[in-house]
């Protein structure tokens, strides 16, 4: 093999992929810094507080100050592996997320399954942290999280199956393209599959351990849950992984239910705006819903959480899979495969 073949075959694509990944990572991490700030600001606004407002104008540099503090304030094995796993997995999911037509690092055939697989692996970070911390609170939190995340994954799986039935593909870009109908934003799957959108939103809250389902780190019972023994950089990686996972769920909701990068209507003023801006706006809207849930809903009790997952969402989403499949098959609406 000559050098030219090596260059065009492997080296140049490698450089392109690395550059794309770096660009995505930098943009994602900067967005996460501000999403984190937005979370604190929205919460503060609901409770009529000011929130972080000291570092930079309106507290805009708060997240970076936190980062500096975590890195500068810097033990072993599984204990350190746990935050690394959480952080790496959360960032890895973004490799397949299309932010605009053709704007993704890898458009794989099983994109939805890939994200689903990654979100099902996220539980390991928490279990490993809880076990390796060798403390009762952390361990109880890990046990809780394992049960909670596995339970809600089941209903997220059925929600995804409903969307797949309508779109006829596991490819994320095809799922978005399938929502491009003449009804504009009313043809996106949030309206035809409204019950599933609600189930997805609530399950995503539970899957990412967000309030009102943050029983994993219920401070009144478990101090700070699985994170209680962590400090400085490992703690920051947990925090980062958690917020990136939330951003992934927002992006996932945008792609599955809110039409991804599509404009609300395919007419003049809307089509001038680039698709990536629509994508970001929709993902931010999803995040706003997440942040508001944290501010206005009190924490669930653990038995209520389990009841909701297994006795309400599971039968509901199973029934919806059957109904959606029947309507598509007998209504002649099934996508041509």
């Amino acid at each position: 093999m000559t050098f030219a073949e090596l260059w065009t075959g492997y080296l140049w694509p490698l450089i392109v992929i690395v550059a794309e990944s770096l660009l995505l990572l930098v943009l994602l991490l900067v967005s996460i810094a501000y999403v984190l700030l937005a979370d604190r600001k929205i919460w503060a606004a609901v409770q009529m507080r000011r929130g972080p407002n000291v570092v930079g104008p309106f507290g805009l540099l708060q997240s970076f100050a936190d980062l500096l503090k975590f890195v500068l304030k810097a033990n072993k094995g599984v204990f350190l592996l746990a935050p690394l796993v959480t952080c790496t997995l959360a960032l890895g999911a973004w490799a397949v997320i299309p932010v605009n037509a053709g704007w993704m690092i890898a458009d794989i055939n099983v994109g939805v399954l890939y994200i689903f697989a990654i979100s099902s692996l996220m539980v390991y970070g928490i279990i490993m942290a809880g076990w390796a911390s060798n403390s009762k609170y952390a361990f109880l939190s890990a046990v809780r999280s394992a049960a909670q995340m596995v339970s809600y994954e089941v209903s997220i799986g059925f929600v995804i199956i409903c969307v797949l039935l309508c779109a006829g593909s596991l490819k994320l870009s095809v799922i978005v393209a399938a929502q491009d109908t003449r009804f504009g934003m009313f043809g996106w799957y949030w309206l035809p599959l409204l019950p599933m959108f609600v189930v997805f939103y609530v399950s995503a809250l539970a899957e990412t351990n967000r309030p009102p389902f943050d029983l994993v780190e219920a401070e009144s019972e478990l101090v700070a849950g699985f994170m209680v023994e962590y400090g400085s950089s490992p703690y920051m990686m947990f925090m980062l992984g958690e917020y990136v996972a939330i951003a992934t769920m927002c992006a996932m909701g945008t792609i599955l239910f809110l039409g991804g990068w599509l404009p609300p209507f395919q007419v003049a003023p809307f089509t001038w705006v680039p698709g990536v801006i629509w994508f970001v706006l929709k993902a931010l809207f999803m995040f706003f819903l997440f942040a508001m849930a944290k501010a206005v809903v009190p924490r669930y009790r653990y038995d209520q959480l389990m009841r909701l997952g297994w006795k309400v969402f599971l039968p509901l989403s199973l029934a919806m899979v059957v109904i959606v499949a029947a309507v598509l098959q007998f209504g002649g609406l099934a996508p041509k495969g």
Binding site: I108, F116, S120, L121, Y124, E153, Q304
Partner: protein, 202 residues
């Protein structure tokens, strides 16, 4: 061709090494973590073969659900492996026997695979490029093998019912949460407003 071969040896090497560590690790929790590493590498091998659907399902089902339960149980049980190792030489012949039987079975299956009449054509037949992996699997599973597929589902259902029946203990003394009672509470039944004069108490 360099890159796929390189990745094959990477995945295969890590897979075998972590499979060895599953039985060699001192701590049972580390054993399960090595098992997970082996699963993930096996799914990497699936991806290299172009079976991306199987790769993802392997991760979702085995790593995301089954291994979580393994880890859960192993963390709860306080197994002392050093104690278990005491009689290892005593059980070694039985272990070797089981290993040999497994190896023989594997060889038989692989041998049957190689010498079966229609196999060379089936292996060399090109994968239809117009069809994705998922679609191809679905077409076979829901047409040719639909009854076997349903039968497999029924077997799993029986196993699930069996597990529930074995673990369900109905204790009449246990206090249970009744959600409809809790939701049906009103202000009148749940709250009593009392005007207390200072220094008197209720």
């Amino acid at each position: 061709m360099i890159l796929p071969a390189l990745f094959f040896y990477l995945f295969a090497g890590v897979c075998v090494a972590s499979a060895f560590m599953v039985i060699a690790a001192k701590n049972p929790v580390h054993s399960v973590l090595y098992l997970i590493l082996a699963f993930v590498n096996a799914s990497g091998l699936f991806v290299l073969m172009g079976a991306e659907f199987l790769a993802m399902i392997l991760i979702v089902v085995y790593v995301g659900a089954v291994a979580v339960l393994f880890l859960f149980v192993v963390m709860m049980l306080d197994v002392d492996f050093a104690e278990l190792r005491q009689g290892v030489l005593q059980y070694l012949p039985v272990g070797v026997l089981v290993g040999v039987v497994f190896l023989a079975e594997l060889l038989l299956v692989a041998g049957a695979w190689v010498i079966a009449p229609g196999m060379p054509q089936a292996i060399s037949a090109p994968t239809p490029s117009t069809m994705t992996n998922t679609e191809a699997l679905g077409r076979v599973l829901y047409t040719q093998y639909v009854y076997y597929f349903q039968a497999a589902g029924l077997v799993l259902l029986v196993a699930m019912i069996g597990a529930i029946v074995l673990t369900l203990r109905h204790n009449p003394k246990a206090k249970r949460q009744n959600i409809s009672d809790q939701v049906a509470r009103t202000k009148e039944t749940a709250m009593e407003v009392v005007q207390v004069k200072s220094g008197q108490g209720i």
